[in-house]
């Protein structure tokens, strides 16, 4: 079980604004890491954009699960994990991070802040601590507090998209993704359909 990324994002009126993020990409091949990171940022922002206020959701994409919580004050957080990682622990982590973040960072800074300007350093620590869910928090303690039935489950990223919208188009249009990442996305897509050497 593994956590790959943890990000705090503000859900603005038109688009999501990344405030702070932490990544653990050690399990990815070295030359893919930068692209993978860009994709995780892109995906996290997209998910927050498409999640309504006051909801928790889990989005399945290939072998990854993206867990999102957007609070009523439009502050949201996303954790990207593998499918093995317990869902409850992810939402515990999200609650905790959002609570801590809103205590430390003034809400005036949320709409315009960026990872460089926001002063909140705990994300990396949380991400590495929660890699082993049993050492992080007593897992059982929080279990009862979370009503699992209220978590929306999306089986693909596509189900977050609007009618006529395509993920490929969003990737092609994105400003967050570099050329290498877009090429990476294309090869990954191709590989899914047939077995190729690279």
């Amino acid at each position: 079980m593994k956590l790959y990324s943890l990000s705090v994002i503000f859900k603005g009126a038109t688009k999501a604004n990344l405030l702070k993020a932490a990544y653990d990409l050690s399990s990815f091949s070295f030359f893919q890491r930068s692209s993978v990171q860009e994709f995780m940022t892109f995906t996290s922002a997209l998910i927050v954009e498409r999640t309504s206020q006051g909801t928790r959701a889990s989005v399945k994409e290939q072998e990854y699960l993206c867990h999102v919580y957007v609070r009523n004050d439009n502050l949201g957080a996303v954790v990207i994990a593998d499918t093995e990682y317990p869902q409850r622990v992810c939402f515990t982590l999200l609650d905790k991070v959002l609570e801590e973040f809103s205590r430390q960072v003034d809400s005036i800074d949320w709409p315009s802040g960026s990872p460089e300007t926001i002063n909140y350093k705990a994300l990396d620590i949380h991400l590495s601590k929660y890699q082993n869910p049993r050492e992080a928090d007593a897992m059982t303690k929080v279990q009862a507090e979370l009503d699992e039935t209220k978590i929306i489950l999306h089986n693909t990223m596509e189900s977050l998209l609007e009618r006529g919208e395509k993920l490929d188009d969003l990737v092609a249009k994105s400003e967050h993704l570099g050329n290498q990442s877009k090429a990476f996305y294309k090869t990954a897509r191709k590989q899914n359909s047939c077995c190729e050497i690279m």
Binding site: F30, F31, Q32, E84, Q180
Partner: protein, 465 residues
């Protein structure tokens, strides 16, 4: 971009040369990868080196692969001559990009047998290829072939030693070097397997290679098996749906139990050691002597070891069941954990049956009191120790019975950790475990697995017992 045949020729030769030079100059390269890059940029080499990682830009692969493929096939069909050094370089490039190309590995086998290549180099090449293709069956197969070559050299060296008794001292040094070398190789193989297993989930090829390595390079070496079992504990706890990883654990347990029982069955541990070294190949002799060297107390502790090996078996089962229960409860809904439980319980059930049988066949009138039907098993916390007594009695040490009643060091450790001491697993205890799960958990999958386990207990174990 290169397009005409000539240009491709020049490009490929350059890339092959670049890769060879990069590997030569940086012996610490530990990973390879393809960099997504559809078009060639500037007039730059497509080979990139960063932080000991070797990257190949993707645009050149489509020129490179068909070209080297062809060249090797033509060489194989004897239509085209390629000199040895070129063969080494071409196969290296090709295998890094397509490690399942058997012909290339076969060419390298020939080069290895002719002494052009050394085995370490091929193990290293395989290791690099596995960082990009962690499952590649041909790479694992070739790896085993190379390891067998190393083992052959090892046993040859030992034979020579036996023949030429007069140069004993020099040979002792040499054989020490060889066994150190073998220990290093074993360690390296374990690392390669771990790396591949974490790069690809349920990597059956990596785990079965690991099993092969232990069977061929550490057979009967209880210490190695013990170390593996404890180092795997955290890994399986973090990969609760990796069936291959759990299967490896089952293999370790099975081997350990067989070895421990063998050890306790023979009259003395040392005699058993010697008999095993005689019957085994000279290679094993070395792993055994080495083990004794490592565990300086092994010889002195042998007497105790023999007496305690049966309780140790019980301890192994208890700890494994405890780990399994803990994981099932912490991570609901993983079938792997439930099938691991089945395996462990089955192994335990079988071992107990055999053990009882042995007792009776030896005519000892001390029955091993671990029957399924004993309901006291569930409430009596001292039963675990009670059984230890019986096991020890089986090892015909009646005078030692009293020590069995002293608190088991493992048990007290468990108490310190705040976990209740467990009873040996039995049908009723398994049923009550299932009931607890069914009562407390509302995860659909978890309930399904629990019910299936219950059914399995009833049909498979119930009918046998």
């Amino acid at each position: 971009m290169a397009e005409s045949d000539e240009e491709v020729d020049v490009l490929v030769q350059r890339v092959v040369k670049d890769i060879t030079n990069a590997l030569k100059r940086n012996p610490n390269i530990d990973e390879i990868g393809v960099i997504p890059c559809p078009e060639a940029r500037y007039n730059r080499s497509p080979i990139v080196l960063a932080e000991n990682k070797l990257g190949i830009e993707s645009w050149c692969v489509k020129f490179l692969l068909p070209y080297v493929h062809n060249k090797l096939l033509l060489y194989r069909q004897r239509k085209h001559w390629v000199d040895r050094q070129a063969l080494v370089d071409i196969t290296c490039t090709l295998l890094l990009l397509n490690p399942d190309f058997t012909t290339a590995w076969n060419i390298r086998k020939e080069l290895l047998q002719n002494g052009v290549l050394n085995p370490e180099k091929d193990l290293y090449l395989g290791k690099l290829a596995l960082t990009k293709f962690p499952k590649s069956p041909e790479t694992w197969i070739h790896r085993r072939w190379v390891l067998q070559q190393i083992l052959h050299t090892f046993s040859d060296a030992n034979h020579k030693k036996n023949e030429q008794g007069e140069r004993e001292q020099a040979n002792a040094v040499r054989s020490q070097q060889l066994s150190d070398h073998l220990a290093r190789t074993l360690h390296q193989e374990m690392n390669v397997c771990s790396d591949a297993a974490s790069r690809y989930p349920s990597n059956y090829n990596a785990w079965s290679h690991r099993v092969w390595v232990l069977q061929h390079m550490a057979k009967g070496n209880i210490k190695v098996f013990h170390d593996e079992l404890s180092s795997m504990r955290l890994w399986v706890s973090m990969h609760v749906s990796d069936h291959s990883g759990f299967h490896y654990r089952q293999f370790l347990l099975n081997e350990l139990i067989t070895e421990l029982c063998r050890a306790s069955a023979s009259t003395t541990w040392l005699a058993q050691q010697q008999s095993s070294t005689v019957s085994n190949s000279s290679l094993h002799q070395h792993s055994c002597t080495e083990r004794n060297g490592e565990l300086s107390g092994a010889d002195t502790a042998s007497e105790e070891e023999r007496q305690f090996s049966l309780p140790t078996v019980l301890q192994l089962f208890l700890q494994e069941m405890e780990l399994c229960s803990d994981l099932i409860q912490s991570f609901p809904g993983h079938e792997t954990l439930w099938s691991h439980r089945r395996h462990i319980f089955f192994l335990w059930h079988q071992w107990r049956t055999e053990h009882q049988h042995n007792c009776h066949s030896k005519g000892e009138n001390v029955p091993v009191d671990v029957s399924d039907g004993n309901p006291g098993m569930l409430v009596q916390s001292s039963v675990g120790q009670g059984e230890s007594v019986n096991c020890k009695t089986h090892a015909s040490e009646p005078m030692e019975v009293d020590t069995g009643l002293l608190p088991d060091p493992h048990d007290s450790k468990r108490l310190k950790r705040g976990v209740l001491p467990s009873c040996p697993p039995s049908l009723p205890s398994e049923h009550s475990f299932v009931s607890i799960i069914l009562e407390s958990c509302c995860n659909y999958e978890q309930r399904r697995f629990a019910l299936a386990y219950k059914k399995w207990l009833g049909t498979v174990i119930g009918l046998q017992g």
